[in-house]
Amino acid sequence: MEIQGYNMPDDLYYEEHHFWVRVEADTIVMGMDDFAQDLAGDVAYVQLPFEGKKLVKGKSFARVESGKWVGKVYAPVNGVVAEANEELESNPALINEDCYGRGWMYKIKPNDMAEVEDLIKGAEAVEKWLLADIEKYKQE
């Protein structure tokens, strides 16, 4: 679905800080959504946490730098890091170029897959949430 120029695929879950989540068997894949990569601008660095790092839902677990700002990535679920996208180490711009594809960031093994259902999902909910954020972050 496209919402005011932002590409927000219908089959994904979204975390409130604008990270997307896709379920793949017993793991989830996550990355920045189109709105977040647009707000961030050119991504300069992405931290790749080690495999097995424990994640607490809602808490930050990695850093991303863009526009001289060191931001945080928040865990969408409780779980452990299963894999980080090594390609981002040399080419963080993949997040800007293809945020849902080659710009994926982390794979996570959730403690309880049911937690993804707490994320934002479905055309109606996503649209309502995104439109509110577009309004909130509208530049003067």
Binding site: H17, L39, Y45, S66, W69, A93, K138
Partner: protein, 370 residues
């Protein structure tokens, strides 16, 4: 009206200032400390690299050691800076909720720079915020900023140039001066300005701080109340200091492949010579810096400074760089007498024919210590 603490401690070492930044940000992130405006000064002088930069690529460590300049790593992003007594650092350590924006964005940067713009206006200076995060006067940068976040709080910091020692900066940082022509080195000085140059004198430090405080109070609708460190902050600061003094912190990022390379190309077109010097980081595919010089006439003059500022740190992608330059021409932000955008871009195209810029490096980047 909310009260912020004003934290104005005596000059500190680089490690002390960095350790205090992290202590304040972490405690603020846990909601254990007040919203704060802080002034920073460094003694001895320091070179500070951005969180994700490598010291060996950015700093002339031999020169720094010989001249008593300390080297450290910020907790914020961005590029390496030289910080001596002719600069004043300012910081806002604050709940994200104060600005109502959980995700950091360009609008927030502008809001955070507003108090400093207001302070400069008090001296009659027409300063303005320049995206993403500089403050400029007539296109020349007078303050650069950066930031970091921790849970529900952020730290935003900037440096205001009171005076500017271009020679000391060039000696301490790995600006590729050997590769640059005299007028390109001049252009480094020209794209930056300072209070001394704008006002003809440097106001006393106390007056500068007072003007900034007034700017913060007016623009944020807050009241500043001078205060010291809380017990918890002092404890966290002491606990963190050894780590910030350690090589593990300062040398945390090591380059895996050769760093920045300089590529130059010049073309003579109808109205004059245009020369592009690209400082490229092929590993991370970034345009680290860019110097455009020549014997052409740019109108307005600031257009050239703004263009270079806009392209610094951009992806090393010819089409994207071309589009940015074209945009400046199309929007009337830059005109070159007797030249079209295509004419002006010829040296850029030629630079991209250089093998260094054509090769795509599949591996590289910096190594993370995890």
């Amino acid at each position: 009206m909310e009260t912020f603490r004003l934290l104005d401690m005596p000059p500190m070492t680089a490690a002390e200032n960095m350790a205090l930044d992290e202590a304040l940000l972490e405690l603020k992130g846990r909601g254990e400390t007040p919203n704060t405006v802080r002034f920073l000064r460094f003694s001895p002088p320091a070179v500070l690299v951005g969180l994700h930069q490598s010291v060996s690529e950015e700093v002339r460590t031999g020169y720094c050691e010989a001249h008593g300049i300390q080297v450290n790593r910020r907790i914020t992003g961005g590029g390496a800076i030289f910080f001596d007594e002719s600069q004043l650092g300012w910081e806002i350590i604050c709940d994200k909720a104060f600005f109502g924006l959980p995700i950091v964005n360009a609008g927030l940067f502008k809001a955070l720079c507003d108090p400093v713009v207001t302070a400069l206006a008090g001296w009659g200076l027409e300063a303005a915020f320049r995206p993403r995060n500089d403050i400029e006067i007539a296109g020349r940068k007078i303050a650069g900023t950066g930031g970091a976040e921790s849970e529900d709080a952020f730290l935003f910091q900037g440096t205001l140039l009171i005076d500017f020692q271009v020679d000391a900066m060039l000696a301490a940082l790995r600006v590729p001066v050997e590769k640059l022509e005299a007028r390109e080195i001049d252009s480094i000085g020209q794209r930056v300005t300072c209070l001394c140059r704008e006002l003809g004198h440097a106001p006393p430090l106390a007056a500068i701080k007072e003007a900034l405080c007034d700017g913060f109070e007016r623009r944020f609708h807050i009241r500043l109340e001078p205060g010291g460190l809380t017990g918890a902050e002092a404890d966290a600061f002491r606990a963190k200091l050894p780590a910030f003094e350690s090589e593990e912190w300062i040398d945390q990022i090591r380059p895996k492949c050769p760093g920045a390379r300089t590529v130059q190309a010049a073309c003579r077109v109808r109205a004059g010579l245009v020369r592009f010097t690209l400082v490229a980081d092929p590993c991370r595919r970034r345009l680290q810096d860019l110097y455009i010089t020549g014997d052409f006439l740019a109108v307005p003059a600031r257009g050239l400074y703004d263009l270079q500022a806009a392209l610094r740190g951009a992806p090393l992608d010819r089409e994207k760089i071309r589009a940015s330059v074209q945009g400046f021409f199309d929007q009337g932000k830059l005109r070159i007498a007797g030249m079209s955008a295509e004419d002006f871009l010829k040296p850029l195209d030629r630079a991209f024919e250089h093998p260094l810029l054509r090769t795509r490096h599949g591996s590289g980047g910096s190594s993370w210590r995890r």
